[in-house]
């Protein structure tokens, strides 16, 4: 965090997003600038206060005159850029990404504790996914309810790895990490032992609060009851990284 004395060193650029002129600090990402200007770009793995993963690929944007797409979260703005965030091509790809996520694990919204408060569900709605064209993989995943307060249901995990990042970057516990690779990736606590037996988990619950779906939830919640609050994160992140 830079003090006020360095303000003069901040360079400001102007660019176009969806043909609107906007100005931005050079250090900002396309996604940040779009949000500041009220332009919504769907995203899932990105979260203010955590490092950039660039993994969900939902925030891909187009640059005028280029066929190559860029991840809005991981690309800095530049002078004169002409960004398009909502072309037909992007809408088609986003829809497919959400479909792939829905087919990958066993997301049964109607019986999910996060029903109605789920980012994946919202994305499906936003991207117009009225059905999934891909075969559901129907792979078997475990539910680990061994923790005193929390529960992890891998059937509903989208592998955004927000939990892994918040646990490492904010809480400093690094209880979570990802194991395996490809379609067999899974988040794990410690050596893939039950969460309740973890020595490193501090029980802070940040992972649960920022999980976008019903994968990480509090005990005692049933369908539609799990409410999450992510608003603490930017503040905490600022406080922890204060130099």
């Amino acid at each position: 965090m830079k003090g006020p004395g360095t303000a003069s060193s901040v360079r400001v650029v102007t660019l176009k997003i969806n043909d609107h002129d906007v100005s931005a600090r050079e250090s900002e990402s396309i996604l940040e600038v779009a949000r500041e200007n009220g332009i919504r770009i769907p995203s899932l793995c990105q979260m203010d206060g955590l490092s950039i993963a660039g993994a969900c690929r939902l925030c891909m944007v187009e640059l005028k005159g280029s066929s190559r797409l860029l991840a809005g979260c991981a690309t800095r703005v530049a002078e004169g850029m002409e960004v398009l965030t909502n072309t037909e091509r992007l809408r088609k790809y986003r829809r497919m990404i959400v479909e792939l996520l829905l087919a990958e694990r066993n997301h049964v919204c109607s019986v999910c504790v996060s029903n109605g408060r789920c980012e994946l569900q919202d994305l499906a709605f936003e991207c117009g996914v009225d059905h999934v064209r891909f075969p559901y993989r129907s792979a078997v995943y475990q539910v680990d309810a061994s923790h005193d307060w929390y529960r992890v249901d891998h059937n509903r995990c989208v592998l955004c790895l927000r939990c892994v990042r918040v646990c490492d970057e904010i809480e400093g516990a690094h209880t979570w990490d990802a194991m395996g690779r490809g379609i067999n990736c899974q988040v794990v606590t410690d050596l893939k032992r039950p969460w309740g037996e973890s020595d490193s988990c501090t029980g802070c619950g940040k992972c649960v609060q920022i999980c976008p779906t019903g994968a990480l939830v509090k005990h005692g919640t049933s369908a539609g009851e799990m409410e999450k609050d992510v608003h603490f994160l930017p503040y905490l992140s600022r406080m922890r990284h204060w130099e």
Partner: protein, 164 residues
Amino acid sequence: MTLTVQRPKPPSEDKRWKMIDVAMRRQGYSPHALIEVLHAVQNAFGYLDDDSMTYVAESLGLPLSKVYGVATFYHLFALKPQGEHTCVVCTGTACYIKGAGDLVDGIKQRFGVRLGETTEDKKLSILSARCIGACSIAPAAVIDGKVHGHLSVDELLARIEKVV
């Protein structure tokens, strides 16, 4: 002021832990040396178990889940003991074109194990390699570290039977 780092004790009296300690010392107990150290563990013990991963994690100052994540990311690390003998069937493109699939089927028929499995008597593990770079002598397999090329199913089975 000097900081003395308390290093954990090896999980057992087994002399092979000395090799692991040497490998870690050589790398200055740097967390970046994780993969090198896991190689050392696998070379010494044949596979990685919870004890060894915990020991490595504590020695290098790494979270357990990170060690587990790395160990399961790379195909060469095994989390279960392997058979006494191994046969690695190359499934690279050249071997595929020249019938690696038949070799795998032949092994399945004769020994009842598929790729990645170990026979019940723990004598033989069948593994696959993405390409061992011996494409010119495809199809190829590596039996206990020795490369054999231009294999027919019968030849491969005979060679395996010789060692098992």
